[in-house]
Symmetry: C2
């Protein structure tokens, strides 16, 4: 298992020089593409000196991430301060299992982005509304225009933090098996097993009496 | 988006009393089931006072997680110390998108486990070998017995950290849409869109001349 993500993420930073590393020749557009292909992130922060990692939803809007939270949650209480909250937001897509002839060269194909920085709570009502719309649309493009918008009370009960994409890096593994030459003739199956998230048939609620919207008809995941 | 994971994870700890919380009535077996259903985790640790979250692979063996790393990686350098390394390991499965009539009640169905604690590098050769086998088998059950085992040099180049499941909690959302009564007749589509990871047809390498093993023939993901 030699090819797994390490903390050698090459910086593809927007404000710092790019360092070239193997499997990290990602430009900004590739980085955006990885972020745009997902909506689930893992949000890391420090509480009492120890790390906390929680799953949540996000949206990318330009060079900024909006990350969903709750006003009752600890990360957001930290982000309410002027100093903001140090966070790490990681998005990972798994693309294939890589089965080699040797245990050592087993791996996975993946794409991931790691964004470091200081997050701040979104307090401007217009920005908050736009951010929530963006998060809804990141999951199902077009959906925010086809549901009842949040009212003032609901917006007050929801919290979003923003993180500018200043310190952001991408890493991936693609391609086939990298077995040692000496192992190639071993009598084991080797190859790739593709993995992807797949959406099943939409299941309408009992209170739905409109046709399936076009934005749910596609095979997107 | 009121139903997303917050840091209100109920403890289902093995050493501390269980605190009951809505959507957190998980017992230890449910917690194991969530861990056993995955192999990708997000590993959080603190570096220079700031959080870092990296994707990697893991295996559960009894009441312990083994997490793959590299001897060159920073988290493991920390874990080599006698004091170990404070980590948070989070495993998340996304099960469905929940589309409500109101933007506010949009959500996702998911299962997740968050494990906090101090991780240590595995140094005993027998434990390291068993841990690597477990990680391979967590991804593809049965695979570790059907490939060339790691030799001494390969084992020395691989690192694994262990985390006992002492401070571990689970959280999930299941079920349907939770719209407000007043919104039920709004003319929007509402319901669930199932999401699941799916494995595609295995793609053998050019050097594979054995049949597809039985452990790859199933629909497992």
């Amino acid at each position: 298992m030699s090819d797994l993500p390490k903390d050698t993420y090459a910086r593809n930073a927007l404000t710092t020089p790019t360092r070239s590393k193997e499997r990290a020749d990602w430009d900004r557009y590739s980085l955006h593409a990885i972020l745009d292909a997902g909506y689930l992130c893992h949000l890391g922060f420090v509480r009492d000196g120890r790390p906390v990692v929680l799953p949540t939803l996000y949206a990318r809007v330009g060079e900024r991430l909006y990350i969903h939270g709750s006003t009752g949650s600890r990360p957001l209480r930290g982000a309410q301060d002027d100093q903001g909250l140090a966070v790490c937001v990681t998005v990972t897509h798994l693309d294939a299992l890589v089965l080699a002839k040797s245990a050592f060269h087993h791996s996975v194909n993946y794409r991931s982005v790691v964004a470091h920085g200081t997050a701040y709570q979104v307090t401007d009502p217009a920005e908050l509304r736009a951010a929530l719309d963006a998060i809804v649309d990141q999951v199902v493009p077009g959906r925010s225009a086809d549901c009842r918008p949040g009212n003032a009370k609901e917006l007050a009960a929801t919290a979003v933090i923003r993180l500018d994409l200043d310190q952001v890096s991408a890493k991936s593994r693609t391609g086939g098996v990298n077995d040692d030459e000496a192992d190639l003739d071993l009598p084991y199956w080797a190859g790739l097993v593709p993995v992807s998230p797949v959406r099943g048939a939409p299941e309408p609620s009992p209170h739905t009496d409109v046709p399936l919207p076009g934005y749910l008809a596609g095979p997107a995941c």
